[in-house]
């Protein structure tokens, strides 16, 4: 995110002009823009004009509109942010109070005006504008018969391709079928790999699978690259890392990000932080379940007793349209930080955040055990 101009006061009103430059930035914008804020951007609108003769004429006009946000929608695959609201900027084509949907795309600047820039909003803004935190990673997760390609960004994991075929098992005449089916499968995966993995963007490409599928594919990949002179692969051979995972499903991404070789590359990024933190939560859960808790009620009670060491939250909770709820969580984060704890905000677009969202979206590692939490209804 490029910040063009900023003009705000802490916990006060103000505006920021910014330009999203990569797809992650739209996600940040999605988290920043809340109902009630206003957004100004250049947009295109179809305008109906009535001629003197009475005939109607539709025309697409490019204009600058500012809307009071009522609804916001994030399209992960398309890379578009749609903001719906009432117009508040007088214009010759669009009256004040008319509805309009702004589409924010990459490289299109917009101005966000808020009544209150709270500490969390500023934190998101800071993160978004930090260029060094980018962690673009391509992950190919495989198991025999199933392959998926993911791009792991700073705060968004996108699924790029999914290849599923049935591979016959061995024995009898099927043994020949096995070889050809596997070959066909690899061929498809290779095509997807070439199409979706751009080594100019990603820091490295990780191939993860249980068993030896990854080695088999790696060998196939290099062989084909030699044969067909696939320059991008030959040149970036060293950027391909093999990692062992327990399955080819999406939740195995956690194991990929957890692997030491990958961790080294992405260690200072948010994704890595999330993984480490979540790992700790699960570890505590198994070592001493009384020192970990989840669910809003339990965490709140734990916080009242100043027991929260690390707070894990999903950004979903902050996107709440309901202002008091958002404030409640902002206050919770503040109070945890005030009592010397840490707070991590997970992106629900990452696999770790997804998992956390399934655990009600809020969890905490405690300083001391609170066994009586069990007795409180969740």
């Amino acid at each position: 995110m490029k910040i063009v101009r900023r003009d705000y006061t802490h916990n006060g009103p103000g505006s920021v002009k910014m330009t999203p430059v990569d797809s992650d930035d739209l996600w940040f914008a999605y988290n920043l823009i809340l109902p009630g804020d206003s957004v100004m951007a250049v947009t295109v609108r179809k305008v109906l004009r009535e001629m003197a003769s009475g005939s109607r004429d539709a025309e697409r006009v490019k204009l600058k509109l500012e809307v009071r946000v009522e609804g916001i929608e994030y399209d992960k695959e398309g890379g578009v942010l749609r903001i719906r609201g009432k117009n508040i900027l007088e214009n010759e084509h669009v009256k004040i109070g008319q509805f309009h949907t702004l589409e924010l795309e990459l490289h299109r600047p917009f101005v966000l005006r808020k009544q209150v820039w709270d500490s969390l909003a500023l934190e998101v803004l800071k993160q978004a504008s930090d260029p060094t935190a980018s962690a673009d990673l391509a992950v190919l997760l495989m198991q025999e018969g199933l392959a998926q390609i993911f791009l792991v960004g700073r705060s968004v994991t996108t699924s790029r391709a999914r290849i599923e075929t049935s591979i016959p098992r061995k024995h009898g005449p099927a043994i020949a079928g096995y070889d050809s089916a596997l070959n066909k499968f690899f061929q498809n995966v290779l095509q997807a790999f070439l199409k979706h993995v751009d080594f100019n963007v990603v820091r490295c490409a990780v191939i993860g699978s249980p068993g030896f599928t990854k080695d088999q594919f790696h060998r196939y990949l290099l062989l084909e690259a030699e044969k067909k002179e696939l320059r991008p692969i030959i040149e970036n051979k060293s950027k391909i890392i093999l990692v062992h995972t327990s399955s080819g499903y999406k939740h195995s991404l956690r194991e990929v990000l957890d692997a030491p070789s990958v961790m080294n590359i992405i260690k200072d990024t948010k994704a890595a932080e999330e993984v480490v933190c979540q790992h700790a939560f699960f570890r505590w859960n198994s070592v001493d379940p009384d020192r970990a808790c989840y669910g809003p009620k339990h965490v709140e009670v734990a916080n009242e007793r100043l027991a929260v060491q690390t707070l894990l939250l999903t950004d979903d909770l902050f996107r709440n349209a309901d202002v008091p709820t958002r404030r409640k969580y902002v206050d919770l984060v503040k109070s945890v930080k005030g009592s010397g704890g840490k707070a991590h905000i997970f992106s629900t677009m990452h696999s770790s955040g997804e998992q956390l969202a399934q655990l009600t979206g809020i969890a905490a590692i405690l300083r001391f055990p609170l066994p009586d939490l069990d007795d409180i209804e969740m």
Partner: protein, 673 residues
């Protein structure tokens, strides 16, 4: 276990009364004229399918075009019959009357072929009941109870047949196994009463069965299994085929010698020719892996041979004195447990191979790294009750009795905790490499000096034949698929869980719901005419779209009785020991059921159960720890073919895995969506 929730919620559903009506009607027929027993027609379509040959006849025909069976007179549409059936219920005879009419009808039926079939199966049922009561987490007292019941079943066989028949009619199923399942699920006092007054429990039994049924019915399921009547050819003819098929899984920790043992067995039994064996030996030597020569008979892919480990379940066949044995040689490496699950769910019995050498046994038995425990538990969760423990590599430890005894004691305690019965476990010391105690009594003096038991081949024959569901509608989970585009056919292979197959039969492949015709059947690469429940076969299907994905994990079934496809399930599970991470609400898991697997999450932990009594001890707990039993809801990302455990055991057994480990095993108690 009691399924109170089900009963409470679903009992009043319209479908139940409808169900009731069905077999009421069915019953009347069998009293009047048993020959005319027919399925009531429910299809709203213009076609009606004959109950005998399943041929789709035109609406106007009153007799089947092919086999001449008279169409059921009640062929009118049942769509608006819900009200009618409700009214009908009021006029229904009192439970006692129902019992007496059924008594009559069953007596009539005993003379028919079905009676014979039932008689042959009822002993199986008793055995199964005995074994199963153990599995269903009852307290020891209850187990004793159950077994005494089955003994009684043996003694008064005649009575057993009669009551089996009776309950058949009552719960509307033609299969004794199913009844037995219901019993397992019923209250304790219920099973107690059953012995003294079987008849008086009738109403109850049929009631408790129904909620499960109505839940499983999805919109596509037109008919309940109650109306299914197997054809004559579907039932086994004992005179014709003396050998029954036995699916024998070979499991164990990696490098314990599973493939070598299987290869050696096949070689000794002459299933591998000298020439082939010579070739394996030569090739293995070239690769510097001469000790793997026997394993190569089963590990065929170059990848497996190069690495010296099995990756996929290999299938091989041999005949013993009593059985057509199908060997399922499973991979032991922990990364391939999913393959092992999908391959070995077919097993009727298992050989657990243990590496006796110093350190190796301990490594395999280690809870966090070894696969011995995981495999044993998984095998148990597939419903395998009979286990042969082959303590392999005895040559390495000099055929030491102490070593053998140590292994027996350590493993024995563990097996008891997983629910194996001591009497169903056979311990056999052997050496696959030195050919000791495999197909003949040992020749080595050191082993002879203390071992007097059976050798492995003998032990296989001593296994009890498994019970089969011949009389149920066809169900065959697909283990493997090969497509041949040149012939335009799809070959699917798997084990028939229920029913029977022959070429020319129309079958439906779920979840896609496509109907195809069976062109030919293969068993051990030889074509065969008929396959029945329990058989491991390859079927060539025609009329199935090749581009359409027929995948392993699908189910071949009877077109009128399609299997349910669901993604939201209620399970009763037991968490395994030494969980790395407790199971939380929202934990991400891999879900395995028969040959299907899917990613999903634990949507909700409903309640924790007492492992002994099965009573609920805690509602909506925060997490599920090691060794706890619980009722949970699971939501899958992709739907799978599934049946409730009470309806079909093989399709109702599931296991949950996460982070490369099996975390819980259980059964499907309810299909929610």
């Amino acid at each position: 276990m009691p399924r109170k929730v089900n009963r409470g919620v679903d009992y009043d559903e319209a479908y139940d009364s409808y169900d009731d009506y069905d077999y009421e009607d069915d019953n009347d027929y069998s009293v009047d004229s048993p020959a005319k027993v027919e399925e009531p027609q429910q299809k709203v379509k213009k076609l009606w399918s004959c109950s005998i040959c399943t041929y789709d006849n035109e609406e106007g025909m009153s007799v089947c075009d092919i086999c001449g069976v008279i169409r059921n007179p009640v062929a009118g549409d049942f769509k608006n019959s819900n009200k009618k059936t409700a009214a009908f219920k009021f006029d229904a005879p009192s439970p006692d009357d129902m019992v007496s009419t059924r008594l009559q009808s069953s007596k009539l039926n005993t003379q028919g072929k079905r009676g014979k079939q039932n008689a042959s199966n009822s002993t199986d049922t008793a055995v199964n009941g005995k074994l199963d009561s153990k599995y269903s987490d009852r307290p020891p007292a209850e187990t004793f109870h159950g077994s005494s019941g089955s003994i009684e079943g043996h003694n008064s066989l005649k009575k057993g047949i009669l009551s089996g028949q009776l309950s058949d009619e009552a719960s509307g199923s033609s299969n004794p196994l199913k009844i037995e399942g219901t019993q397992g699920n019923a209250d304790d006092d219920f099973s107690g009463q059953k012995q003294t007054a079987p008849a008086s429990n009738f109403g109850k039994m049929s009631l408790s069965d129904k909620p499960g049924n109505s839940n499983a019915l999805d919109s596509r399921k037109h008919k309940s299994t109650a109306e299914y009547h197997p054809d004559k050819w579907m039932l086994p003819d004992k005179a014709n085929d003396t050998l029954t098929q036995l699916n024998l899984a070979i499991v164990g920790h990696v490098d314990s010698g599973k493939s070598t043992l299987s290869g050696r067995l096949l070689h000794l039994l002459g299933r591998i020719t000298k020439k082939e064996m010579h070739k394996y030996e030569k090739d293995a030597k070239i690769q510097g892996k001469s000790s793997f020569a026997y394993a190569w008979a089963l590990d065929e892919s170059p990848e497996e041979r190069e690495r010296g480990i099995t990756m996929n379940v290999a299938v091989a066949y041999f005949n013993s004195k009593k059985y057509h044995v199908v060997i399922l040689d499973s991979p032991g490496h922990k990364d391939f447990v999913p393959n092992m699950i999908s391959g070995a769910t077919q097993a009727d019995a298992a050989i657990l191979v243990i590496d006796a050498s110093n350190g190796a046994f301990e490594a395999g038995f280690d809870g966090s790294k070894g696969q011995t425990r995981e495999h044993a538990l998984l095998i148990r969760s597939f419903g395998v009750e009979q286990l042969i423990v082959a303590v392999n590599k005895m040559d390495v430890v000099g055929y030491s009795k102490d070593r053998f005894d140590l292994i027996v004691t350590q493993l024995g305690t563990f097996f008891r905790s997983c629910g194996f019965k001591e009497s169903c476990i056979l311990w056999i010391p052997l050496s696959a490499v030195e050919n000791q105690n495999l197909v003949a009594a040992p020749s080595d003096a050191r082993l002879l000096s203390w071992y007097r038991g059976p050798y492995l081949f003998d032990a296989i024959d001593s296994l009890q034949p498994p019970a089969r569901d011949f009389a149920k509608p066809l169900l065959m989970p697909i283990c493997d698929v090969t497509k041949s585009s040149s012939q335009g056919q799809v070959s699917v292979c798997g084990k028939l869980v229920a029913g029977a197959l022959r070429s020319g039969l129309k079958v439906m492949v779920m979840p896609s719901g496509e109907v195809g015709t069976i062109k030919s059947l293969e068993r051990d690469s030889q074509s065969s005419a008929v396959a029945r429940a329990g058989d491991n076969v390859t079927i060539n299907l025609q009329g199935i779209d090749l581009s359409n994905n027929v995948m392993p994990g699908g189910v071949v079934c009877h077109p009128d009785y399609p299997v349910a496809v669901a993604r939201h399930l209620e399970l009763k599970v037991r968490a395994l020991e030494e969980l790395a991470v407790p199971i939380l609400n929202g934990s991400q898991v891999e879900f395995h059921i028969h040959h299907a697997q899917a990613a999903g999450k634990v949507a909700k932990i409903l309640s924790i159960l007492d492992p002994k009594s099965g009573k609920e001890t805690k509602r909506s707990p925060r997490c599920l720890l090691s060794k706890q039993s619980a009722v949970i809801e699971v939501v899958l990302n992709t739907p799978v073919c599934v049946e409730e455990y009470s309806n079909c055991r093989a399709l109702g057994r599931a296991s949950l895995r996460a982070m490369g480990r099996t975390i819980a095993i259980g059964i499907v108690t309810r299909i929610i969506q």
